[in-house]
């Protein structure tokens, strides 16, 4: 059982875990040794950061009850704790860049799952393997919600080879099906990063240049048994502009960090269950493309291009049946290609007759809020400058408090004592709930409709 954090003092005691490591895989075993050294400083560095990372490692944490984390104020209400949460959300938004940034919207992701015997470790409940499957399902659902034009393929690595579990597809159901059958994914043997990455790379080779190619590796092992030099594979990935991100469940391995650094991906070691999910979900929003300059690190910035797309007409279930061009099946429902009038079963797809890329406009529209976010509302601290303050929230018509309220705890910063948040464009006031709701869900200001 490989330990995941390696304190200097703890280092000696881990030799038992090295017994099962094959030393004959020169490069990888060496890189593993180095990786451990790095993991130490990283573990220390991370400890000081954000709240989820302040928790101890999963196995050394005492049992926490969820109700302990919520605190009542003197009056016995939870209001203070809730406001704290809201305040944190607000501050996070204030830190985010306000200007429209370029993002990679059309993404192609290969999910590389470690199915080696190391995944049967129980340091994450119930096992690393079960937790990974559960989070992977949530990840896929959320990923397609935010990247409706994206596609995901699934590759597993076990018994020294890469195994294609699901073809690259834009249909969330198919991806979920590929990772739903637990008994087919039973972990066994050693993982091979090189074999798996090569397999993932081959399935992205046909993609158009303007789409991103990404590999997300969930890696629980501390070893990799590769047939050749993995650095050659890495060089190929850099050349193909494939971005590799790794979420490690054990410790940091040097080769994993190198894969991420050289390809512009993200690397993280999960400390506990919650942090594992955080690391995974951080990779869901479309990655921002930095500036217009090409990525200096030889990273995975796809060149911009103009694409011709067709917006189809959907035929209802009640229309007379006709043959679809994709499966030659007789059915009523379908989408009509706007250029050639051919009927396809599902969008987004490429028309089988004229090759036009067919998307439904809601698919495109789902991504717009990433590009045109609602302006952050300003907290109103006093009403002296306002000639006619409105008596109720402009969104939900909830009446405002009249007297300023003492802010609970440390949450005062960025919060309005009056519970009013003002849109910089239309100067309407909103209550805290609407402020959060408008920015996180609606993405459209009820006052100015922007």
């Amino acid at each position: 059982m490989p330990p995941r954090r390696l304190e200097p003092g703890y280092h000696d005691g881990e030799s038992d875990s090295d017994v099962d490591i094959f030393d004959d895989f020169g490069a990888s075993a060496k890189s593993k040794g180095k990786g451990k050294g790095k993991a130490i400083d990283r573990g220390k560095k991370e400890k000081g950061k954000g709240t989820s990372k302040e928790q101890p490692y999963a196995w050394e944490a005492s049992y926490t009850r969820s109700w302990d984390t919520v605190q009542e104020d003197e009056a016995g209400s939870l209001q203070g704790a809730v406001e704290d949460l809201i305040a944190r959300g607000r501050r996070r938004r204030l830190l985010a860049p306000a200007a429209a940034i370029r993002r990679t919207i059309i993404r192609h992701l290969i999910l590389l799952l470690d199915l080696s015997s190391a995944m049967m470790d129980r340091d994450m409940r119930p096992t690393r393997f079960d937790l990974m499957l559960q989070y992977a399902r949530e990840f896929v659902t959320e990923w397609f919600d935010q990247n409706p034009l994206g596609q995901i393929g699934v590759v597993g690595m076990r018994a020294g080879i890469g195994e294609r579990l699901g073809e690259m597809t834009g249909n969330p159901q198919e991806v979920l099906k590929a990772i739903s059958e637990r008994h087919k994914l039973e972990p066994t043997g050693e993982p091979s990063l090189q074999n798996a990455i090569d397999m993932a790379r081959s399935s992205t080779s046909h993609l158009p240049t303007h789409s991103s190619r990404e590999i997300l590796i969930i890696f629980g092992s501390l070893t990799t048994c590769d047939p050749g030099n993995i650095h050659e594979t890495l060089a190929e990935c850099v050349k193909d502009r494939i971005r590799i991100s790794v979420v490690a469940l054990a410790a940091e391995m040097k080769i994993c960090r190198e894969l991420c650094d050289k390809t512009g991906g993200q690397f993280g070691v999960a400390l506990n269950e919650g942090h594992f999910k955080d690391l995974l979900f951080e990779l869901i929003p479309p990655p921002a493309q930095r500036a217009t300059a090409p990525n200096a690190r030889g990273g995975a910035t796809a060149p911009a291009d103009l694409m011709m797309m067709g917006f189809p007409t959907r035929l209802p279930d009640t229309s007379p049946p006709s043959l679809c061009v994709c499966h030659s099946k007789l059915k009523s429902e379908g989408f009509l290609c706007p250029r050639c009038g051919a009927k396809v079963c599902d969008v987004p797809t490429d028309c089988d007759i004229c090759g036009l890329m067919i998307v439904s406009s809601p698919h495109l529209a789902r991504s717009y809020h990433h590009l045109f976010p609602v302006k952050t509302y300003q907290a109103v601290t006093d009403l002296d400058d306002t000639p006619n303050p409105s008596s109720s929230c402009h969104g939900c018509a909830r009446p405002f408090k009249n007297a300023p309220q003492q802010m609970a705890g440390s949450s005062g910063e960025g919060m309005s004592p009056l519970g009013r948040y003002r849109c910089p464009d239309c100067h309407n006031d909103f209550c805290p709930e609407c402020d959060v709701f408008v920015h996180d869900v609606v993405h459209c200001c009820p006052g100015c409709g922007k």
């Binding site: 429209a100 370029r102 993002r103 990679t104 919207i105 059309i106 034009l149 303007h210 789409s211 493309q289 217009t292 796809a302 911009a304 291009d305 103009l306 694409m307 011709m308 797309m309 067709g310 917006f311 007409t313 959907r314 035929l315 209802p316 009640t318 229309s319 989408f335 009509l336 706007p338 250029r339 009038g341 969008v347 439904s360 406009s361 809601p362 495109l364 529209a365 717009y368 809020h369 590009l371 045109f372 929230c393 402009h394 969104g395 939900c396 018509a397 909830r398 709930e433 609407c434 709701f437 408008v438 869900v441 609606v442 993405h443 459209c444 200001c445 009820p446 006052g447 409709g449 922007k450």
Partner: protein, 337 residues
């Protein structure tokens, strides 16, 4: 089926289009005036709150350049000025009717001549109704009261004005928000051409879209199709859309296009190949432009595309499709994005 349900009604109060709706013309053989519309609407609203005591209601008005809440059953209007004892009327009906009518009258009076030209704030009214539903659903879930927890919220939009292409993105954002809140959006198009955006709203949230063939029978349509909450509608045969248009508006002219050119970085839609993306300033390769210009359909002007549409659509809607294009182009000048 015994649960309380919440209904938010968004009423399009565009003076221009209500005037058109009330004038008898060749296409508009059965005119419907705003007055008659409102009286039928009030009967429908009354029947909603009469169906079940716990049913809640909120009414929003979309006026040119502004959106207002006309009535909500949770906001007990303190010191109700409309309160007149009337032995013949159920009190909640009276309050509702008086409040809706007086708020509309108050806001219409303050409309200046410059306001009339502005498009109606449908987006504002829609997002307000979402905020309101968010408010009552979160409030009921914290109360953990079983009766209010199952609200089954829905929004009914009564629309008379055509799509404003400039509001495409906010409307779509509102639709996705409604999907997240599990709110059904029903559309009743009382007057005017088919609305592409609202068709999508109904389709994506599982609501029904109804284009009135006989506007004078409004009340019948409303009670037959929109009174039963979505949970009951599964047992009924409510009208479904025969055909949904998934076309989008281009960002450069706000024209509705069916073949567009899309920037791979920001997904802006253009109706013709452009060298530089006007949204994100990305320059596109010359080679792509040449290739796309060559591959463009020979008659790519959007005005001709509805001929494809009409050939495939039902004969009765031919005339409507024709007016659709004119209607959407007349709103081009407004909107900056």
């Amino acid at each position: 089926m015994d649960r309380a349900s919440h209904l938010s009604v968004v009423v399009d109060l565009s003076p221009n289009h209500w005037y058109l709706s009330s004038t008898r013309t060749q296409q508009n053989a059965r005119p419907l005036s705003l007055k008659s519309f409102l009286s039928q609407l009030l009967v429908f609203l009354n029947s909603h709150i009469a169906c079940k005591d716990e049913n809640t209601l909120a009414v929003f008005g979309a006026l040119p350049g502004r959106s207002v809440m006309l009535h909500s059953s949770t906001n007990e209007s303190s010191g109700n000025p409309f309160e007149m004892a009337d032995a013949d009327t159920y009190r909640p009906f009276k309050i509702l009717d008086a409040e809706v009518m007086q708020t509309i009258a108050r806001h219409v009076e303050t409309l200046g001549p410059s306001d009339i030209k502005k498009p109606v704030e449908l987006v504002g009214a829609l997002s307000k109704s979402l905020c309101y539903i968010n408010r009552i659903t979160t409030a009921s879930s914290t109360q953990s009261n079983e009766q209010t927890a199952a609200l089954d919220p829905r929004i009914l939009i009564l629309s008379v004005s055509p799509d404003q292409s400039s509001s495409y993105i906010p409307i779509m954002n509102s639709i996705f928000a409604a999907q997240k809140l599990k709110v059904t959006i029903d559309i009743c198009k009382v007057y005017g051409s088919e609305s592409v955006f609202l068709q999508q709203a109904a389709h994506l949230t599982g609501g029904s879209y109804l284009h009135l063939e006989r506007a004078d029978a409004l009340l019948q349509y409303l009670t037959m199709s929109f009174l039963p909450p979505p949970s009951i509608r599964q047992l009924l045969s409510v009208p479904t859309q025969d055909k949904i248009d998934f076309r989008a508006a281009c960002f450069c002219h706000k024209r509705i296009v069916d073949i567009g050119f899309v920037c791979s970085v920001c997904l802006s839609i253009f109706c013709q190949p452009v060298p530089v993306c006007s949204t994100c300033r990305t320059k596109f390769p010359i080679k792509t432009l040449q290739r796309l210009n060559a591959a463009r359909p020979t008659v790519a002007t959007p005005a001709t595309t509805p001929t494809v549409q009409t050939a495939l659509s039902l004969p009765s809607s031919n005339s409507i499709k024709g007016t659709n294009v004119n209607g959407s182009q007349s709103t081009v000048q407004n909107g900056s994005r």
